[in-house]
Every structure is written in structure tokens, then in C-alpha cells.
Symmetry: C2
Subunit: 323 residues, 2 copies
């Protein structure tokens, strides 16, 4: 094998193994140890962060920093990757914050000039707005780590009844609607709970108490809801929507699949929804105001009416003659 190709393959091999000896690689590539030594030196000069130790159990190592072999990206792919990373800048507190900035800088600096220009032009023309409440990065990192390792952590959480400490075993973390959430097994309640992370005041990643870890290794973000939900059944709903109501409610994915639109733009939602979430739905349909009329089920209608009456009374109490 000619040297130039060998070097490129060596790059990859070296990245694959983290640790290796000269003789090992020499045999693998069918060259002498002397040659391998020289090759590795060259790689080192080319920027691969190699480190070696002499002695009995010495050997070569690639440092934490790894390099990627030359990857061929099309222009569009490079632009796409750039924007993907760029889009996440709104998640100011995501666990990867600093890494992403570095990577982005490197990436950008290696791009040919005309691609840079293209990106510069696009930068002010596309955006991904993600309202995000600021949040301590370290909390996220600790919880994520705990989720991966399935460790128990102790958190100080602001529940409806004020702050309290709980031991939880996190399933994962996710960002949604501007908040970070952490579904977890709560050892206190012996059940699964969803925590909103801006309500978390402090966290102890190593509660000294010897708590037993539950085996939740197979529960992850994509299946925890189905696994942990004790099914309280569905309710059959029927909601009439005005034209405006249709337009507004189309934002919700669970609406879209149950939505029928009339020719004049108005429509109705008909189908089954989980009874357990009835309070959420009541809130939601109340929020649509006069644009939605809950016909079925009765219990949902009642909840909406209760909200309505409560608000009505609230505003009637502050009489000013206009009502």
C-alpha cells in the first residue's frame, strides 16, 4: 500500500482504537515497526493528538481530542450543518453550549469563501425562534449524566406546596415550549413524575444515602409515557370550532388528526382523547374563547364552564359599570 493511502487509513484506525502499540499496528498494516513509528510521527505532525508512554504497559494513545478524517461534504451539507448548529444558539443553556460554539468556529473557518458568503447572506434570512427561559447549565448536565448512567440524584423542587427535597432517577431531559423537562422516577412517591427544570432550585448529584436504583434502563424518552401511564381510558369529544377556532387549534398536533373542516372554514373536533389529561384540555378549549364550543363530553364542558364562571365572577367583582 502506498504511503499516502496508508496514512489516511491509519488516521481512521487510530481513531477507532483508542489505545494501541506500534507492533500491533505494524502487523495490521503489514509494515515494519520502524515504518509505523515514522508514520505515527507524521500523523502527529499533521495534527493528530497522539500521546505515548514508554514502559511495560505503555503504548500509544489518542488524546480526548479526536480528529475526523477528511469528510467530503457537499456545499449544501456544510451549510445545513452550520445552520443546524446555529439554530440551537437559542438554547442558551443546553449541555453542549461551549462545544458547539467551538465546533462552529472551526467548521466555519475551514469553509471556502463563497460558502461563507452564502451562509452570511442566509444568516439574516432564516431563523428558528425558540423562546427559552434561562436555566443553569450545570443542572442540565448533571441530570443528563444521571439519566445516562441511571443514577439517583437529589433535587430541591418547587412544587405547588413549596420547596422540598426529592430523590429521583431521571429518564432523560427534553426541551419543549420554552422549558426544560425531566421525566423521572420519584423515590418518595414511588412513581414517575415530570419535573419542570426551572422549578428546580438545587441539585445534589451524589446523595450519600444508599438508595436503590430501580432498573429503568429500558425506559427512555420515547417510550416512558406509554410505559408509565396507567391508562384511565379515553373520552369521546365533540367540539365545534369557528373559522378562527380552526385556524388557531391547528397548531396542536393532537387536534389535526381529529379535525374536520367545513367548506366555510369552520369545523369540529371529533374523536377520542385521554381522560387523564382532561384538565389540560379544559384549559386549552377555554383558551380558545368564543371560537370553540365544547359539546361532548359533559365533564369536559363542565370544567370549561367552571373556569368561565370563575373568571366571570372575578371580573364582576371588580365592578366598573362596563359589564
Amino acid at each position: 500500500m502506498p504511503k499516502s493511502k496508508r496514512l489516511i487509513e491509519l488516521m481512521m484506525t487510530v481513531n477507532r482504537k483508542r489505545k494501541f502499540t506500534i507492533s500491533e499496528l505494524a502487523e495490521e498494516f503489514g509494515v515494519s515497526k520502524r515504518t509505523m513509528l515514522r508514520d505515527l510521527q507524521e500523523l502527529s505532525e499533521l495534527g493528530v493528538p497522539l500521546y505515548s508512554e514508554t514502559g511495560r504497559h505503555g503504548g500509544y494513545q489518542v488524546l480526548n481530542e479526536r480528529i475526523l478524517p477528511p469528510i467530503t461534504f457537499t456545499e449544501d451539507e456544510a451549510v445545513a450543518i452550520f445552520f443546524a448548529s446555529y439554530a440551537l444558539r437559542h438554547y442558551s443553556s443546553l449541555p453542549f453550549e461551549s462545544e458547539i460554539n467551538n465546533a462552529l468556529k472551526k467548521f466555519f473557518s475551514y469553509l471556502p469563501n463563497d460558502v461563507k458568503d452564502k451562509i452570511d447572506k442566509m444568516k439574516n434570512r432564516v431563523d428558528f425562534v425558540v423562546p427559552m427561559r434561562p436555566l443553569s447549565t450545570s443542572h442540565l448536565a448533571i441530570l443528563l449524566d444521571a439519566a445516562i448512567q441511571q443514577k439517583v440524584v437529589r433535587i430541591e423542587y418547587d412544587s405547588i406546596r413549596g420547596f422540598s427535597w426529592r430523590d429521583i432517577q431521571p429518564i432523560g431531559i427534553y426541551a419543549s415550549h420554552g422549558f426544560w423537562y425531566c421525566p423521572a422516577y420519584c423515590l418518595k412517591k414511588a412513581d414517575f413524575r415530570l419535573f419542570r427544570l426551572d422549578r428546580l432550585r438545587s441539585i445534589d448529584s451524589n446523595p450519600n444515602k444508599h438508595t436503590e436504583n430501580k432498573n429503568l434502563i429500558n425506559i427512555n424518552l420515547s417510550n416512558w409515557e406509554t410505559i408509565t401511564r396507567e391508562d384511565s381510558g379515553d373520552m369521546n369529544v365533540y367540539i365545534e370550532l369557528t373559522r378562527e377556532g380552526v385556524r388557531k387549534s391547528q397548531l396542536e398536533p393532537w387536534v389535526v388528526s381529529r379535525l374536520q373542516i367545513n367548506s366555510d372554514g369552520s369545523g369540529y373536533i371529533k374523536g377520542d382523547l385521554p381522560r387523564k389529561e382532561i384538565d389540560y384540555f379544559a384549559d386549552y378549549f377555554f383558551g380558545l374563547g368564543g371560537e370553540a364550543l365544547v359539546k361532548k363530553p359533559k365533564e369536559l364542558q363542565i370544567k370549561v364552564k367552571q373556569k368561565l364562571r370563575k373568571m366571570y365572577q372575578l371580573y364582576e367583582m371588580s365592578r366598573d359599570g362596563s359589564f
Copy 2:
């Protein structure tokens, strides 16, 4: 210069220039044409997408596909880039869709195994949920392109009064709250408008009519709101919130800076808000139901009450004795 190093430099040179001839490069690198020819062939074999044409004004070209020279990423940077791209998978209709998938695949396949493992473990533990309504990718691409080139396009748009055609000159596109938006100069109204792209039925990227382009090159996503808003002034608001109201409204960034929280968890919003958006605010505070009480200004309170009355009547009409 030894061959192996020459090849790497050649890679970069070739990426810098887009077009070149053999003799040109041969001279630059101080080798014969024959050698340069051989070198380029090797590069080609290594994956650089070269293309050549014979004849008078022929020469070499690098195709649209470009390659990046070997970039050294640390392990964490690679992971970060991966997740940035991964996070955007929810934007199923973003202009870069297919490119990002390709890039991600390439990127992933070149990562060393232990980093792959790390990513695999994290995949099910972190997520960025972005509810997104499906939308034609081509619309996005056309509008983005028009924004970059400052071209006029004709769209068929579903406004309150049904579908109509308009000629617009887009400023850019952005995703927010699950929708794609396009602020643009509307030639019909001779003013700036914000279009929600799921209400766009069709688009003509080349309206044959010779419309004059306005010079909006300096208006972009980050400044169009300030530049185009005819300021109708602010209104001073005062809204009382229950404890639950505080928690809910903290989601909105414009609330946070104007929010005061009492020791018992309840609180109030006090400050100035743009009068122009009064309908939006009325909607919003109505949506908070009994958790918010609008005290000031009167006009806002009146709007909320109107909604309330409208809804009250709506539900009273469907009498069932429970009200």
C-alpha cells in the same frame, strides 16, 4: 515537497479556487504537468468530486460538492454538532432537510465507535421537542431564495377574507411556536406584512409581471420589526396574577421582565407593552382564565371582558341546566 503533504495542500487549494487548469497548478506547486495530472487523479479517487472539460476554454472544476480539509474536532464537539443536527429533525420541512440527513450519516459513520456509543446512549435521553406543522419544503426554499436575492414572488394566501393573490418581496423566513412565518413587503398593500406559511396555498417564483423591487437589502430578520413598525405607542398595564398565573405566564419572555412575585407565589405584571398588539395580549390574558385579572389599561380589560361575555353567551345558549 513530499507527495503526501502536497496532496493535502492540493486539496485545500483546489477547494479555494473553483476552477483551474493543470498547467496553472503545476506551476504553483513546482511540479510537472504530468505529475499534477496524476495528483488530481488521486484526489479524485480519494473522493474529491473533480470534473474536467477538454477544449479551448476547458479546465478542471470542483463540482458543487466541496470537501472540507481534515478538521480536528474534539470528541465533545463532534457530539455537539451531531445533536444540533439531530435536534432539527423535528423541523420536518426545513429547507435543508435532505442535506442534513446525508451530512449526519456521513458524520456519524466517520466517528469512532466509542463516540458512536456515547451518542446512542444520549439519543434517548435528550430531546428538543418542536411541534411543527407539515409544510411544503419547496415553498420554504423558494421564499428563502427570494429573500436572499430580494426577488418578488407571487403567493396565494388564505387571509381572513379567503384566498387571494399577492406579490410580496420576502425579508426572510423564521420558525416560531410551531409555524413558519415570512415577513415581507406586500406590493398590493404597499406595506410590510407577516405571512404564516401554512396559510399559503401556492407560490409563483417568477411572476412575469415586471414588478419593481424595492430596495430592502438592509432590512433583515433581526431588524425588520423595529424598522417597519409604525409606533403606536405603549400602554401601561397592570395585571394581577395568582400563584398559578405566575407560573403559567413565566413562559412568555415579555412577561418575565415585567413580573413581580409576592412572597406567597402570587404576583403582578406591571410595565409598558406595545398598544398595537393589544388583541394579542387580550387573547393571552383571557387564556389565563381566573389566574389573571387585568386591572389596567381599561381598553385591555374591556377586550378581555368582551371575550368573556361572548363565550358566556355561547355556553348559556347551549343550556343544559348546569349553569
